[in-house]
């Protein structure tokens, strides 16, 4: 998106807030959330283009609150004032008509505070017409599949108490897999705000080396328990589960959390395991749906003990807790697992005999109350003997409790971390990612 277009959207968004402030009745409060993007999505298969196109999207979420009731309207935001205001005004009228019909909400939180922020991160992305050739020229002899997603993403916020936030970032992600003729694959992501050709070439060269290892015949392993090294991308997959019925204070209070036993101090994790929210990298907005700013850092698990859950203002009001700027769903937005002491060169020697897993796939709770997670190994996963990679493996299903692999069975974490970018594009391009080390675990349970 050109700077002028971005500026026009911001002007239009600000005008919308200002006009709503004029139109609102004395007993009314509102919040306005904006999500907008101009994205190119180019999808690859067999080092060819499968689908390519651009999406210009944007929507406003207007929440009106009055007399201890609230309701929401979501509608398109185009930057064309006449169109956008017509939709906004009609939404406001509809909300007024609806509110009087709704039950009272005792835990409704009204916007307050005076937070404002403005961050615009410009980038140096590939021109739209150069994406295909720039990506494919480096991989045209390989079985390359994946997606390039790039462009500008905007998140905005305004409310009736005068808070206002604007976050715009120009970025791209290239999420890809390189397949061997036997169907084994190496997974990679290349992401940032500046397309760096030499860094991309280096990434692909590194992946090619792993691809050579995958050419060896596959080893089929029987079910059982194996010492396992999880590369950072696999650790990030396990970490995501904490945002799905675990780390949320509401989930703990409502009997829906895998960390309830940790919260009750019936169990604890390894002293080597520490997790925090770290917004200092600036890749995601710090403000939430009420315009509240999260602290730059929030320790969550320290040396195996739960020191903070994610608490939003609504949960805080309901359960008499202190809010800490969490979002509506109380999910991790900028998670970081602290590094340990395992140096890169020692990963295979310390593993000795067992499994080296680059990635995992399709995780789910198999028994949430005991923290048990099932899922599959996927991409560049190897059998290791005496510190040497012997062969790629046939994928295995695991079923194991986080109280074991982040608890008594955690051997060590690597002394380096990797940033695993968020590449999701449901509804819109997601931002941010996880900063995580690799980890070595004893007796990880494989079941099929």
């Amino acid at each position: 998106m050109k700077i002028e277009e971005l500026s026009a959207l911001e002007v239009s968004f600000n005008r919308l807030i200002e006009t709503l402030l004029i139109k609102k009745a004395e007993n009314e409060q509102f919040t306005v959330k904006l999500s907008s993007e101009r994205s190119q999505f180019t999808r690859f298969n067999h080092a060819k283009v499968r689908q390519t196109g651009c999406v210009a999207d944007g929507w406003i979420e207007l929440t009106l609150m009055a007399d201890q009731r609230s309701s929401v309207r979501q509608f398109p935001f185009t930057g064309n004032w006449e169109l956008d205001w017509q939709l906004a005004y009609s939404a406001l009228q509809e909300l007024r008509d609806e509110l009087i019909l709704l039950p009272i909400d005792p835990y409704l939180v009204l916007p307050s505070g005076t937070n404002t922020s403005r961050e615009v991160h410009s980038g140096n992305l590939l021109p739209e017409e150069a994406v295909v050739s720039s990506v494919l020229e480096q991989v045209n002899e390989l079985d390359f599949t994946g997606i390039y997603a790039g462009g500008i993403v905007i998140k905005g916020y305004g409310d009736s108490s005068g808070q206002k936030h604007w976050f715009a970032t120009d970025s791209f992600t290239l999420d890809y897999s390189l397949f061997s003729t036997s169907g084994q694959a190496v997974k990679g992501t290349f992401a940032g705000s500046d397309w760096n050709k030499s860094a991309y070439i280096a990434k692909i060269s590194e992946a090619k080396k792993q691809l050579e290892l995958l050419a060896r015949p596959c080893k089929e392993l029987p079910r059982g328990q194996y010492k396992t090294y999880f590369a950072p991308a696999a650790v990030a997959d396990l970490l995501v589960m904490l945002s799905w019925g675990a780390i949320s204070e509401a989930d703990i209070q409502q009997g829906n959390s895998a960390l309830a036993a940790l919260s009750r101090q019936e169990k604890q994790l390894s002293p080597a395991f520490s997790l925090k929210e770290n917004f200092q990298r600036g890749l995601v907005p710090r403000f939430n749906e009420l315009g509240e700013m999260a602290a730059p850092e929030l320790p969550v698990i320290e040396k195996g003990l739960l020191v903070n859950t994610l608490v939003n203002s609504r949960t805080a009001k309901e359960y008499q807790k202190t809010a800490n700027g969490a979002n509506g769903s109380e999910t991790l937005r900028a998670p970081e697992i602290s590094p340990g002491n395992l140096v890169f060169e020692q990963i295979l020697p310390r593993l000795d005999t067992g499994l080296y897993l680059s990635n995992l796939h399709y995780l789910n709770w198999s028994d949430r109350q005991t923290g048990r997670i099932t899922g599959m190994t996927r991409y560049a996963c190897f059998w290791v003997e005496n510190g040497e990679i012997i062969a790629p493996i046939e994928n295995l299903r695991f079923d194991e409790s986080l109280y074991r692999f982040w608890g008594e069975n955690l051997v060590d974490l690597t002394n380096f971390q990797e940033f695993i970018p968020e590449v999701g594009t449901y509804d819109s391009r997601q931002l941010g990612g996880s900063l995580v080390p690799g980890m070595l675990v004893e007796n990880f349970t494989y079941t099929l």
Binding site: F41, T42, R43, N45, V49, Q51, T52, G53, C54, V55, A56, S71, V72, R73, Q74, F75, P76, F77, N80, L83, L101, L102, P103, D105, P106, E129, A130, V132, S133, T145, G146, I147, D175, Y176, F179, K187, Q254, G255, N256, R264, H361, Y362, L363, N364, S366, D367, T370, G371, R372, T374, M376, R378, R397, Y403, R404, T425, Y426, R429, T447, L448
Partner: protein, 479 residues
């Protein structure tokens, strides 16, 4: 809408071989209550257009949330440039025949319009469901929710297509959490968000609603003192609300031709099925008959035409255990050279169409539920999905359910908690030994079938009778 879209196509100044516009207008509402108190009340409106342009065999797209003529023109230019930029690297030379001319319309059947009840009346109903679920002090949480969608789409093309579809759908959900010390159990109405249908507000109050609500509350409490599901190999009887997930994950996804062609390998995965398997592979036992059927009235993913204009018809995917055809759109059929169905669908105007499963149903045979149970000496009967995971080739799976009963000597006996089972897809479908009849055939759906790059969550419907699988590995919870 017709005249604006046709006028737009006629006005575009681009040398394209074919141009299509798919405009979508969708209004959805979502209301939910927890412990009798409101959680969400809202309405969402989206409108936009997906423009596709075919140039020298290459398709490019651009999507815009403004239907102004200038925005459509800009999108057409962008789509044209996208196609041109990819022209040397295109995976397949597409032709106009993959976008045939078609004219027609489809509308969901319904009895009561969505405004037949006010937002306040809907909230009242949800509050009453929560109150009725709380059958015991051990119920620590109750939830109830309802959402509606009214979706209209218009598809026009430079070769004369004009398709209008209007889909009304409604999803309801309720459930209870029971707790006794560290033991926590959840029970819901057929699993998370499984009651999804096309129709109007008449679907909000299903037959025997209040009996069912009370039953869900009682079963949540019952699970607190139930035995853990045993770890053993035995006969597994699956209710239709779990068969839904079983069909979806281990039949639907592996038969998607775009997966077989490798499009999804970087995200959702590939398939253990190969192109050469169509017409040959014995997928399961001879009792297995699976149809792709967009014609079932009221099923969640019924439609008249897919999003590229292909006419939707009922087709057998698996007949008497043998794989017949795949879930592949006209584009995938052209690329793979195998038969498919009308299944190119997009989640909204802002995503391109890809192969999706629509309604996928296991056809009934002749066994009553009583006959099925009475014929089993030992087994486990499971209801309502709560956990799902399957590998990228759709081969090794593990699923868990909310509620189970032990079957001993032809009778349902003890209630079991934390029931799970695992197997490989071919082994499992070959172990199908009994299929229920039309009386125990039920249909469900989900709005959350995820796939595609960029990602798309889409609505699918699944119907099935009760089924019996022999010698399946089952197990319970615990660390």
């Amino acid at each position: 809408m017709w005249s604006e879209l046709k006028k737009a196509i006629a006005s575009f100044d681009i040398p394209a071989d074919w141009i299509g516009i798919r405009a979508v207008k969708e209004t959805s509402t979502s209301r939910s209550v927890r412990d009798g108190l409101p959680q969400t009340n809202g309405k969402s409106f989206t409108v936009g257009a997906m423009l596709e342009v075919l140039v020298n065999g290459c398709l490019g797209y651009a999507a815009t949330n403004s239907l102004e003529p200038s925005s459509l023109e800009a999108a057409a230019q962008t789509a044209y440039k996208q196609a041109l930029a990819a022209s040397e690297w295109w995976i397949h030379p597409f032709r106009e025949s993959e976008r045939p001319k078609v004219v027609g319309e489809y509308k969901s059947p319904f009895l009561e319009p969505f405004d037949a009840l006010s937002p306040g009346e809907i909230n009242d109903l949800l509050v009453r469901i929560c109150q009725t679920l709380k059958v015991d002090d051990k119920i620590v949480q109750t939830i109830a929710g309802a959402s509606t969608i009214e979706r209209e789409s218009w598809f026009v093309s430079s070769n004369g297509s004009e398709v209008y579809q209007k889909i009304l759908s409604i999803a309801t959900h309720y459930g209870a959490t029971a707790q006794d010390g560290s033991i926590v159990q959840q029970r819901s109405n057929n699993g998370s968000q499984a009651n999804c249908y096309q129709g109007g507000l008449e679907l909000l109050k299903q037959e025997n609603l209040w009996h069912r609500v009370r039953q869900i509350g009682e079963q949540a409490v019952e699970l607190l003192t139930a035995e853990e599901c045993p770890t053993t190999r035995t006969n597994l009887v699956l209710a239709p609300d779990q068969m839904m997930l079983q069909i979806h994950e281990s039949v639907g996804h592996p038969l998607e031709i775009d997966r077989i062609l490798g499009d999804e390998r970087n995200y959702a995965g590939g398939s253990f099925v190969n192109k050469s398997d169509f017409g040959n592979l014995v997928y399961g036992s001879p009792l297995m008959n699976i149809t792709f059927d967009p014609t079932v009235a009221g099923e969640f993913a019924s439609y008249g035409f897919d999003d590229t204009g292909a006419v939707a018809t009922r087709e057998y995917l698996v007949k008497e255990g043998v794989l017949q055809r795949g879930l592949g759109s006209l584009e995938s059929q052209a690329r793979a050279g195998v038969s498919g169905v009308a299944c190119a669908r997009a989640s909204s105007w802002n995503r391109p169409a890809i192969d999706r499963m629509g309604n996928l149903n296991l056809e009934p045979l002749n066994a009553s539920f009583e006959d099925i149970i009475s014929g089993i000496e030992h087994g486990v009967y499971m209801e309502s999905n709560r956990s799902w995971s399957i590998d990228d080739r759709r081969y090794k799976f593990q699923f868990g359910c909310e509620y189970a009963k032990l079957i001993e000597n032809g009778k349902l006996t003890k209630t079991l908690r934390n029931p799970n089972y695992r197997a490989t897809t071919p082994e499992f479908w070959h172990s199908l030994i009994q299929v229920g009849n039309a009386e125990n055939w039920q249909m469900y759906g989900t709005p959350y079938c995820g796939k595609g790059e960029p990602n798309q969550a889409i609505w699918v419907g699944h119907g099935s009778p009760v089924c019996v699988f022999a010698n399946v590995e089952v197990f319970g919870g615990g660390s």
